[in-house]
Amino acid sequence: MGSNLIVNYGEAVAMILFVIGFANLLLQNNLIKKIIGLNIMDSAVYLFLAEKGYIVGRTVPIVVNGVQSVEAYINPIPAGLVLTGIVVSVSVSALMLSLTIRLYRRYHTLNLDEIAALLQKEGL
């Protein structure tokens, strides 16, 4: 088990990053820190996909000097999936940040507990 961990160190790092991001997302009280945690989780997933998509000894799937055998190239689909994920995560981050800005302008705090207390005071 230990030797596999050393060979697949990219995946191990991705898992650790994912857990760090998830803990941030759940345990932090500050909204901005929650968003940062979600972004760390995103990055861990991209790292995992990119690490899984690469095969040692093969090159990028770009045709130079004629087409070689299928064995010479890696599959570009994991990279495409990572691209999709990056675009969606940019959109989601922008959306969450703008919602956070609106919350801050309404309540003048980013702490979730304080916001909840203010909401209770308003009777919501």
Binding site: I62, I77, V87, L95, S98, I101, R102, H108
Partner: protein, 198 residues
């Protein structure tokens, strides 16, 4: 790859970006109008104005070093972005990466020279029209076969020689569309978060 047999996926991504930008526009614009209409207590508005002034004081204003560097860098960054977009089917790169590079160039220009200069050529209207045109072109390029009843995997455009710039049928056009959408989105996000308004 992402623009050939996964083209609808990429179309969805572009639409996600577009929808996110529109939502950000709605959220931040609406707030401004509302806060103007609803008369808040004077203390809060005074504090807000103070905070805004504090924010503004950290922004570069006609910084000579930044302007001099931007004068050299912005054209280079924009040209490199265009190169990445146009060579997307031949080399690493494509619409998303090139669009992000061009957006970064525009943001650098905005930081160096201020909003008055950029508002001459990029306003909300520009964003609306460029995004609309790019998305419509993309949609028409990929879905015309639905209406003509043909198999859309075949291309009527001559394929050309692999390695030349006009060698990949529709992919060049699609790359340009995606690049336009991404550039506008990056720039609009920045402007909205910086100023909350165009």
């Amino acid at each position: 790859m992402i623009l050939d047999y996964r083209a609808f996926d990429t179309f969805g991504e572009s639409n996600v970006l577009f929808v996110a930008t529109i939502t950000v526009l709605v959220l931040l614009h609406f707030n401004k109008k509302q806060s103007k209409a609803v008369s808040e207590t004077q203390e809060i508005s005074k504090r807000q104005a103070k905070e805004a002034a504090l924010d503004r004081s950290f922004e570069p204003k006609n910084d000579p070093i930044l302007q001099c560097v931007a004068k050299f860098l912005v054209p280079l960054i924009l040209i490199f972005g265009i190169y990445v977009v146009l060579n997307g089917h031949l080399s690493p790169g494509g619409g998303f990466s090139g669009g992000a590079i061009m957006g970064a160039g525009l943001i650098l220009y905005l930081n160096a020279f201020g909003f008055e200069k950029t508002e001459r050529f990029f306003t909300e209207k520009t964003y609306k029209w460029i995004s609309f045109a790019a998305l419509t072109t993309y949609c028409l390029c990929k879905t015309y076969s639905f209406y003509c009843g043909a198999n859309h995997l075949e291309s009527h455009i001559p394929l050309g020689i692999p390695g030349h710039i006009l060698s990949s049928g529709l992919i060049l056009i699609l790359n340009i569309c995606v690049g336009c959408v991404v550039t506008c989105t990056m720039y609009t996000f920045y402007v909205m978060f910086r100023k909350g308004d165009f």
